[in-house]
């Protein structure tokens, strides 16, 4: 039996290597994608464009927008002269945020009885940068106000003999990621996603391809059992998936400095489990699709659905509770928790066993369905 499987695997690899372009792509494109994504998400949100309509033109208003510009997240680059021009800048997307400083700011600031006003308009069409810009602007203005309050109060406090500092001092330490490096969150997820993509594509196209090209009939006449066919098709997908994983991991750790705080052996073993589970899904799709085009589009759809529920884009915690339940049957969701847990938190099997068990169960279930499906469709 093993000899037959071995021959099938050999044939698969020869076919694979014959299309050297494809092999090159499968091995190099993931690295490229990783680099690209690291570049794009590497820096924190910064330099959001701000327009300032300064109707006061005093040294106080100048100090205010200088304080805004000094923030990393904001970049004051437009100084419209009228309200209409400000609106146009927002419409065109030239500015994410507009700050309108009314005339009389300096006068209001100098008088302790009056409250200075500032108006902010933010472009809400892209929510994440809008929230960032808004909170950055509010914090700056609040800090500006607090400084002014401190000056005003210092006089009074000195008269009362009290301390002038803030009564509460909040100190923050960051675990696992002292520099708030976004890369630490996105790159392990990306590595996981690439392993997921590659394994799924290779596994799903396998049978559909043979069916489309007409070579499936030839496979039927040779003395090959169903289970041997399945294993023979699965092994190349496994090898390619693991190869990709190891190269991605090396790039992530050595080129991007993502820490690897847990056990490498544990990570590799759980990745193997994940790859096997995904091969099951691939086989299932392969059995359902009539042509390669269908198989590929189905993989696409599945990949998108998995991306949604897996915590890749949005933390699972932030999903509505009903969808969180759905997320539990997506193997990719568990794998993401595993890879992040092992790399960033050095977690061990004692913490991750629930995820590993879920992947095992789903993998077995889907593979069983796939094999049964296949036997029916092949006969």
């Amino acid at each position: 039996m093993f000899l037959r499987i071995w021959n099938l695997v050999l044939k698969e690899f020869i076919q694979f290597l014959r299309d050297w372009l494809m092999t090159a792509f499968i091995l190099t494109l993931p690295v490229l994608q990783l680099v690209l994504l690291a570049q794009a998400t590497g820096s924190r949100i910064s330099a959001l464009r701000v327009a300032v309509l300064d109707m006061d033109r005093s040294s106080a208003s100048r100090q205010l927008f200088t304080a805004l510009d000094a923030r990393r997240e904001l970049d004051v680059c437009h100084f419209p002269a009228t309200l209409a021009e400000t609106h146009r800048l927002l419409d065109q997307g030239e500015a994410t945020l507009a700050v309108i400083i009314p005339a009389g700011l300096a006068a209001d600031m100098g008088d302790v009885a009056r409250t200075p006003r500032v108006q902010i308009i933010v472009d809400g069409s892209n929510r994440a940068p809008a929230l960032h810009a808004l909170s950055a602007a509010r914090e700056t203005i609040a800090g500006f106000a607090a400084d002014r309050a401190a000056e005003l109060l210092a006089g009074q406090a000195a008269a009362h003999g009290l301390a002038t500092g803030s009564p509460i001092d909040l100190r923050t330490t960051v675990r696992f990621n002292p520099a708030f490096n976004v890369k630490f969150f996105t790159i392990p997820a990306q590595v996981g996603f690439i392993v997921y993509q590659v394994t799924l594509v290779v596994a799903s196209v396998g049978l559909a391809r043979e069916r489309e090209l007409g070579t499936l009939e030839q496979l039927m006449v040779i003395p090959l059992r169903r289970i041997e066919l399945v294993i023979g098709k699965a092994i190349p997908a496994l090898v390619i998936g693991m190869l990709n994983f190891l190269s991605m991991l090396a790039v992530a750790v050595f080129a991007f400095g993502v820490p690897m705080r847990g056990s490498l052996l544990l990570l590799c073993t759980l990745t193997l489990l994940f790859v096997v589970a995904e091969i099951g899904y691939g086989m299932f799709i392969s059995g359902v699709a009539r042509t390669q085009q269908q198989a590929i589009l189905l993989v696409f759809v599945l990949a998108m659905v998995d991306m949604t529920f897996s915590g890749y884009l949005v933390r699972v915690k932030h999903l509505p509770v009903a969808l969180q339940a759905v997320a539990r049957v997506v193997p990719f969701r568990h794998y993401l928790a595993i890879i992040r847990g092992v790399m960033l938190k050095g977690a061990g099997l004692d913490v991750l066993w629930t995820h590993a068990a879920a992947m095992l169960v789903m993998g077995l279930l889907v593979t069983a369905v796939a094999v049964r499906n296949m036997s029916r469709s092949l006969d």
């Binding site: 570049q39 472009d123 630490f184 390669q292």
Partner: protein
Amino acid sequence: MSVRRLLTVARKEFRHIARDARTFFLVTVAPAFLLVTFSHVFAFDVDRVNIAVRDLDRTPLSRAFLASLTADGDLTVVTYVQREEDVEFLFNRDIADLVLVIPHGFADLALRGGPAKVQCVVDGADAITASQSVGLLESRADAFAAGLRVGRLGTPVGGFNVSSRAWYNETLKSLVSMVPGMLAVILCMPALALALALAREKETGSFETLVVTPVRGTEYLFGKLLAYGVSGMASVVLAWLVATLWFRVPFRGSFLAFLLLAAVYMVASMGVSLVVASFVRNQQTAMFLILTVFFVPSFFVAGLILPVADEPIARAIAYGLPATHFITISRGVFLKGLGPGALWKPACILLGMGVLCQAISLVLFEKKLA
């Protein structure tokens, strides 16, 4: 170029698409289906921060402090910790995002003028949420501190009155921002299907039979383009219906303008996929290329969730992707009510991209037929 031959090729492609329910579903209905799936992730803006508290003071003031932090529901206390060792466990099991430690003597120090040191340990694995959580905590702590100062001095601390408004998306809902942007990403499925169709003809060998027919290169490519373009537009209409009727995303622009701009986007994305398909020999490679080079980067680089990055390389790549420009267009038409006039810049870029790519794929194609 004969229009009759072009239409014949188009009709053949239509038959291919419609013949099998699965392919038909995947080309026309799937984008709308994906929109529904994806957007439910963003349907609820639940930005909860879970805090664990280690209160070593246990005075009325420390309890008041905690109450003020959790007053509006953004921060929630999920558990109280006694020992330091338990903190590690909380982070590993993802139970808490943040641990707050209030030291013994907090109330005494704070009431005397301070500063009372409060420690906060945040789980930095998810850097974006972590910095937001810290920001939230700091602003609430500052508000409480300001309140304390008022208490001591009896005079109001002069703050600024900041009024803010969000345009185009008044309540800053995630869904309103995401659905128009998501349209750009899912509408690349027809382009993917086109590339696969082209690669399939090469792979199954039916390409050679086409060479002996009097069909010319231009007629072949444009015929395919027509068929998949029309199916693509059908999926655009369906997706638009899902966005406006199901998700109730405001649509402030003109429907015809949107269709026109969507057609331009189809031309651009299909042009790109045709160029890709000219280079590959089989469908698997085509899929892999398009998925890794165009689709996944579109999520992060094109300005869908995070804004387009500042660094020149990432920015150049973002502008090279058709999706980036259509995200701008889509949000512009849906939320800002802009027309093709105001959106001429991204529209022209897309048109230029489309024409250039069609030309390139035509040149490459002629060579192969000859």
